[in-house]
């Protein structure tokens, strides 16, 4: 590896300030220093903050009809006309009312503003949720401008192999008479997004990511699909789409991100364990946008997590969900937990489950009516043995099975939910080994996450029942 980093760090601050002083253009310097690699011709975009209109009014409730967003490549002629009319009206505001926050450039600059230093919504768990909120208000504005609040944004379903070209509406005609056109695109109307950017490998990897951390990131890191397919498509389209500050200036940005949003929706649907973060820090993430009536609104992450009921749109079926491992029916396996409060896991059951999982099938451990402490919000880790719980070495360690979050309803530590807590944990081969590697019956145990070793209290699992389930994967006859 080169020691470029150190040298770059050494020169960075003074070089930037120097550039400002002498007023060299970015493109010119790029060409000079880096062998002809230059930024596109357009000058640095005017990245305006959304304004300072005072206190934002909280977004309350959407009572529109729940309607589907549809693939951009399958829109009817009248739907394409409606879409173009909407963007035409939005672009018209750029000249007729440049200060109208619903104008196209003002809308594009919302993305610019939220993608800069200090307000960057990329590379963290804000990525999916912020873009959902942004597109939501953008969609409402488009609807208002054509007098049809039933308007829904289309999505560019580049994950469908036959839809990898830019959707026709955005390139026909391929000139500035088309309000969906953008002249800076590198991608031609006949080009296709490469298979390796949006193909099966990429989509399955995204949709089978086990946790939101892997799928959507954390407070300080991004998830897998933000790079590919999301970022790759930005790069492939190129031009304005290639840069944070200008991506919103290409109307196809909104169709692209609608598909990214659909991917999140599909991930949620793909498995019962694909759940969004429940941390207060995530749920209370708040951003401000102008709505269709130019009212400055605040909206929280918690207000956009279920797009159908909260934001009034749905998506069509996912081809990739259909292509994920096709599991046969789940086969329940009873245990004698109700009698012994322990789990005996060996012999034929163990061998069968191991074989099925190795062949691509799935196995689960179910804890029904699990008793957990409800004196505070906390996350408990489930281990195969009390010893492993005491050591609490976390995910990936021997004996670790999963987590059991306990979120109280409010700061008064009230736990209003009386529903039984039923937990299902997916069992990998490693977890199956952990369950079968103990001498005698398995004594499941919980321990609160994040507690120092000396204060760690191992809690034997108390549950009404513990069972297993198994699903073989459907395999083609050969």
């Amino acid at each position: 590896m080169s020691n470029l980093d150190d040298r770059m760090r050494a020169i960075m601050p003074s070089r930037r300030s120097f550039l400002h002083r002498i007023g060299l253009s970015v493109g010119a310097l790029g060409a000079g220093l880096f062998g002809g690699l230059t930024l596109p011709e357009s000058v640095l975009a005017v990245c305006e903050p959304p304004g300072n209109p005072g206190t934002a009014k909280p977004w309350r409730k959407d009572c529109r009809m729940i309607l589907p967003r549809r693939p951009a490549s399958t829109l009817s002629a009248s739907e394409i006309t409606q879409l173009k009319d909407a963007y035409k009206a939005m672009r018209a505001l750029d000249t007729s009312a440049p200060n109208d926050p619903r104008g196209f450039l003002r809308q594009a600059n919302v993305h610019c503003w939220y993608c800069g230093e200090g307000t960057q919504v990329h590379f963290t768990w804000q990525f999916f949720v912020w873009h959902r909120a942004y597109l939501y208000f953008h969609e409402r504005i488009l609807g208002k401008l054509i007098g049809d609040m039933n308007f829904r944004l289309p999505y560019w379903d580049w994950d469908t192999p036959s839809h990898r070209k830019l959707p026709g509406a955005y390139t026909d005609p391929n000139d500035n008479s088309n309000p969906l056109w953008n002249g800076s695109r590198v991608m031609d109307p006949t080009d296709e997004i490469p298979e390796e950017d949006v193909g099966e490998d990429v989509m399955e990897a995204a949709l089978t990511a086990d946790t939101f951390t892997e799928f959507g990131g954390t407070a300080s890191g991004s998830g897998i699909p933000e790079g590919t397919p999301h970022g790759a498509v930005h790069v492939d389209v190129g031009g304005d789409m290639g840069f944070f500050d200008s991506a919103g200036k290409d109307p196809v940005f909104y169709a692209h991100h609608a598909n990214v949003d659909k991917m999140w929706s599909d991930w949620n649907k793909a498995s019962s364990i694909h759940t969004n973060p429940t941390a207060t820090a995530f749920l209370n993430l708040t951003w401000n946008f102008y709505d269709e009536n130019k009212v400055w609104r605040s909206i929280k992450a918690s207000q956009v997590l279920t797009h159908d009921t909260q934001l009034r749109y749905t998506y069509g079926p996912s081809k990739f969900l259909e292509q994920l491992p096709c599991l046969l029916d789940w086969f329940p396996i009873k245990t004698d937990w109700r009698i012994s409060q322990t789990l005996k896991f060996a012999g034929q059951t163990r061998a069968k489950m191991m074989k099925v999982v190795e062949q691509g099938g799935r196995a689960r451990l179910h804890l029904n009516e699990l008793a957990v402490p409800t004196d505070k919000s906390a996350v408990y880790r489930l281990y195969a043995t009390p010893e492993a719980a005491k050591a609490d070495e976390g995910p990936g360690s021997k004996g670790y099975l999963g987590t059991v979050p306990v979120v109280l309803n409010d700061r008064e530590r009230r736990h209003l939910s009386k529903n039984a807590r039923n937990i299902a944990v997916r069992l990998s081969t490693a977890k199956l080994e952990a369950l079968s590697g103990t001498v005698g019956p398995v004594r499941l145990a919980l321990v609160e996450r994040g507690v120092k070793p000396e204060a760690r209290k191992v809690i034997p699992v108390r549950a009404k029942d513990v069972s297993l389930s198994l699903a073989e994967v459907e395999r083609e006859e050969r």
């Binding site: 980093d5 070089r15 120097f18 970015v26 930024l39 990897a205 991004s222 991506a247 997916r426």
Partner: protein, 146 residues
């Protein structure tokens, strides 16, 4: 230091960094224990720095002796004009390589490490040979809830 001489020194330094490494970046990485059975295997790239704010894709390929490179996947990096031509430090990049790596299982056999080549490419997958970049850490790790 005068402005002109300062600029000259910056340009010389930059020219040196452009040619600091010839050819594509190759890395020997350990294969995680039990990778063949893992539900996910990810290529983790940490501490990546790239000169300037250009958009590009970083493409990873497996290098196996006597065979064509096998593309493992890529990560798309959206451009950022705000950095101008200054070095840009990227967040940790994750590339899921589960399926392509699985297809190499027979050829990798019992190897405990493999060679991975990383190439920046443009939207049409043409190599960006002149893009200067570096990475501090490249590794494979098992993903999922294992």
């Amino acid at each position: 230091m005068g402005r002109i001489s300062w600029l000259t020194s910056v340009m010389i330094l930059a020219a040196l960094t452009v040619h600091a490494e010839e050819g594509p970046h190759r890395f020997s990485v350990d294969l995680p224990t039990g990778w063949q059975q893992a539900s996910h295997v990810r290529l983790v790239l940490e501490g990546m720095t790239v000169a300037g704010g250009l958009p590009f894709k970083l493409q990873a390929a497996a290098i196996i002796e006597g065979a064509e490179p096998v593309i493992l996947g890529s990560a798309g990096i959206v451009g950022d004009r705000s950095v101008g031509s200054a070095p840009r430090r990227l967040p940790t990049l994750l590339i899921d390589v589960t399926r392509p790596l699985g297809s190499l299982a027979d050829r990798l056999g019992t190897q405990t490490a493999m060679t991975i080549r990383l190439d920046p490419v443009d939207g049409r997958n043409a190599p960006l040979k002149e893009l200067d970049w570096s990475v501090q850490s490249v590794r494979l790790e098992r993903g999922g809830r294992n």
